[in-house]
Symmetry: C2
Subunit: 165 residues, 2 copies
DNA sequence: AAGAATTATATGAAAATTCATGTTTCTTGC
DNA sequence: GCAAGAAACATGAATTTTCATATAATTCTT
């Protein structure tokens, strides 16, 4: 009486795919995210920096997709990061609606450092997870993501009990 | 010019384990979470309900761990759900500090429905992902989570470049 | 059995997020 | 070339979330 599986039949949550994904993501990220905060960044800010390492000068909307942050939220985050001198915003000369975001030298220095740290953290994680299904996991996740992105454009699939009387 | 991998060397983000985990979680959840909102719940509320289906009457702290929600936030969410008649709070007679949370009949009805929907959604997801590494994924994730929970108690492991001059 | 320490939850103020919508700048069709 | 529409960002108010800490109820110490 007070086990993790109190119910008669097998528990739902710990076997539910979406829970497993969220829990794995959280558990795997916890350590490095703590490190990120140590360096004075919140996680969404780190995400922006990491994305800019790949695609410096991308526009806000692109960045939002890439960093998985909703646009208006990202705008506010970027403004803060601009104020702190981590990034710069320049409107695109070809298209005045677009705002292109760049790392400042200071921002790049920090981002470079954190990306290096992230790579080390990832290596340790994967290495310590060897023996089990360590190596495959990235492949599996990539496949899942691709599959999901595909079946998003492809409708007439998952319908989720339409609850219409 | 304007590819997803604009940089010379391979991009960091799309190959980074923590990104893959977060992206997979998001992509996989998107569809069902939209359904949850349709039913008038926000995602954290749904998580609470799902957890209570497994462990009705658990205390706030347990629920917080189980649902991966920070305690003070969970308290507020639960109070709202109480107000809406989805759950009830009773202090534990054995230990007056503890608050035990129960689904109301109404809450349970909704939770049952959504859990059923979730199971269907999960089945469709896994089925459509067959052929690829469909079946293994849950096992892999469980292994990763266990591994991480273990190496949390076991320190002297991952160190993340201590940046102390 | 009193006081200290600990555990469980609640609370409040500051900050972040969401959601709907405003503004500005292109695009397109006619 | 101009009006209508679309695209890209910004903004503001309402709501959530966070973080530190308060409060309350146990357990531990000696």
């Amino acid at each position: 009486m007070s086990n993790s599986a109190d119910s008669p039949n097998p528990p739902f949550v710990p076997n539910y795919l979406l829970y497993l994904l969220a829990a794995a993501s959280e558990a795997a990220s916890e350590h490095f995210h703590a490190h990120v905060r140590t360096r004075g960044l919140r996680v969404p800010e780190w995400r922006v920096m990491a994305c800019l390492i790949d695609t410096d000068g991308s526009m806000v909307t692109e960045l939002a997709r890439y960093a998985m942050i909703e646009q208006s939220r990202l705008t506010k985050i970027i403004i803060q990061m601009d104020t702190r001198g981590l990034v710069t915003r320049r409107s695109d000369p070809k298209d005045g609606r677009r705002v292109r975001v760049f790392l400042t030298p200071q921002g790049r220095a920090l981002a470079d450092e954190l990306v290096a740290d992230a790579k080390i953290d990832e290596q340790e994680l994967l290495r310590s997870f060897q023996g089990g299904q360590g190596p495959e996991i990235k492949q599996t996740l990539r496949a899942l993501i691709e599959h999901l992105e595909f079946s998003q454009s492809e409708p007439a699939q998952r319908k989720t009990a339409d609850a219409e009387s």
